[in-house]
């Protein structure tokens, strides 16, 4: 295998890992093993992995409520992610974060945010930090189409532009923000167009094509690393399931036909076909990857299930690094 082929294989593997992780997480949520709401990256795997694989291991990343795919894409171990979703002590955030707030600092994942757009300024800061400390790290930040209308993003883009901060603004445009279609909330057809207000490049890519996403993001990352400043990458993708598991929407807000169109554009079979078609992987290898991934997720679930919940006396741990002893904790 060439290096490129290895990369493409890894791309497929991570996409598949997200797919299986998310599907299993949904099952577990329905069974009550995962508490709270669950926002999955299903059908957005090509977008997520194309973007994250463009980053170096020591590059940074921040994300949003749709938070599982991002750290997986960045290389986080799924066992501690799954344990986190179950609220276990061995979870990557010791059970304190849960589905919307995954973070794995060991792979540069500085945290997902349940507050729309509020992780974007954090990414700007990580980029500034790299500049100040004189490293060549880059920070990529994921946000949605809905988030693009939040003020925090405007402020961050302007600052990134004036200081040429090594940040990639990555918009996962899945066409909907809960029940609001992009056309209803957003004054431009392409969110990438917003970059024109800051004088840096904005590019639109097909979010179902991991290679196209990877190529555009790599260019953005390299530009950032060269000190030339930010890029806005917009990947057009689609959310097929409801906004979140555990949040049925009371009324119909989109056409089945629209969903059907996108069902045909599932990135996983398409990419598998391309890899086998181009002779990069055999059918057997594809099956083998699937088998390995399923084992990996099974093991993660076992790990999570067999882990303990955090102990009640750990409640205050991490609230402060230099702890304050509360006078009357529970009265």
């Amino acid at each position: 295998m060439t290096q490129d082929d290895e990369l493409l294989t890894e791309m497929y593997r991570r996409m598949y890992l997200i797919r299986v992780f998310e599907e299993r997480a949904i099952e577990l949520q329905r069974k009550g093993e995962i508490p709270g709401a669950l926002h999955t990256s299903l059908n957005q795997e090509a977008t997520v992995v194309g973007a994250t694989l463009a980053l170096r291991h020591d590059d940074y990343m921040t994300g949003n409520h749709r938070s599982h795919g991002h750290p997986i894409g960045k290389g986080a171990k799924v066992d501690r992610l799954m344990a986190e979703l179950m609220g276990k002590r061995t979870g990557v955030c010791q059970g304190r974060g849960g589905s919307m707030h995954l973070a794995d600092f060991s792979v540069g994942s500085l945290g997902e945010s349940g507050i729309i757009a509020s992780g974007v300024p954090v990414a700007l800061g990580a980029g500034i930090s790299a500049q100040v400390r004189g490293t060549d790290q880059v920070c990529l930040t994921f946000f949605g189409d809905g988030a693009s209308n939040a003020g925090a993003i405007h402020e961050s883009m302007n600052m990134a532009a004036i200081w040429k901060v090594p940040v990639v603004f990555f918009c996962e445009n899945n066409q909907w923000a809960v029940t609001t279609p992009i056309a209803k909330s957003t004054s431009v057809v392409d969110i990438a167009q917003r970059a024109s207000a800051y004088g840096f490049p904005g590019v639109v890519v097909d979010g179902q094509d991991p290679v196209e996403v990877f190529t555009a993001t790599t260019e953005a990352v390299e530009r950032a690393r060269r000190g030339e400043g930010p890029t806005l990458v917009e990947a057009k993708t689609y959310r097929i399931l409801e906004h979140a598991e555990g949040l049925p929407i009371p009324s119909k807000y989109r056409e089945e036909a629209e969903i059907d169109v996108w069902r045909l554009r599932d990135p996983l079979p398409a990419f598998a076909k391309r890899l086998t078609g181009e002779g990069i992987l055999t059918e057997e290898q594809v099956t083998e990857i699937a088998r390995e991934v399923v084992l990996e997720v099974d093991a993660a679930i076992d790990f999570a299930r067999s882990s303990e919940f955090p102990s009640a006396d750990s409640i205050f741990d991490g609230l402060y690094s230099n702890p304050i002893i509360p006078l009357a904790r529970l009265r």
Binding site: G87, H101, P250, F316, R331
Partner: protein
Amino acid sequence: MATTLTETAHTSATDRKGRRLTYLRAIRDAQSEELSNDPNVVMLGEDVETGMFGTSGGLRDEFGPVRVRDTPISELGFCGAAVGMAMTGLRPIVDLTIATFTYVAFDAIVSQAAKSGYMFGAQAKVPVVYRAAMFYGGGDAAHHSDRPYATFMTVPGLKIIVPSSPYDAMGLLKSAVRDDDPVLCFEDKNLWGVRETLPDEEFFVPLGQAAIKREGSDVTIVAIAGAVRLALQAAEKLNGEGISAEVIDPRSLVPLDWPTIFESVAKTGRLVIADPASRTCSAASEIAATVTEELFGQLKHAPVRVTTPDVQIPFSPPLERTLYPDPTRIAEAARRTIR
């Protein structure tokens, strides 16, 4: 997020006869009535046209997208816009969905909504209602679990309601919409499913009027929002032990019905405050401090606060579960004032 609660068909004052309505539905119907009553009442917020949690279901179809309007995710912008709307003749109800999203809009609520009426020398009235649900206890973690009414109580110029029942939700919210001042309405998600039969005729609950939920003579328990039913459970327990607890729900935190609280404490000499918010600078602290200042000589024991400790809300249910006031802790506090 609980959703089996969601109801979308419309009930008006006239056709809710005898039906037991949920808290959520009471909020929806209050808004429906106010939209019907006054063409200047409008609703805005993210996904209000679909009516995600059930508090606006069907309203867009009835009142149209000009009056019931989906917004982009721009809380600072649309909460500020609501002030401009309110100063020019409309009476907007802004649905912020979840209480932590008020932080994004904090400047609009504080610098514009709370200050404009005063700063412009009473030229402006700002009749806006900001509604937000308090999610807590459901594994929603730190970004979706705050109960920030005390944060806003530090801001003069705002009024704050915390309905604890379908009746209060409807009655307070309708009063809030007709109030000429900015009102924050914090809705307790743990009460969404609570049902109650509401009066057939239109009704209002005035701001600043506490409800004595249970009379008693040994100890006063002031309870806020979701803690009211927990306090009633505690009172029931205490009753079995021969302790007679009076339970008071202030219903609005600004204005706060001091006379009712003072009268009760003057009678019982003992005060417990059950407040699901975190402890420091809480509504509970304010009530404790004020009652002590006013009734020191009549107090038989220090007021005791039963609150959530000063910690962010952890995701893990076993950790989260222990944090909030519950009937056991409330009853224990009441006993402590007596022993």
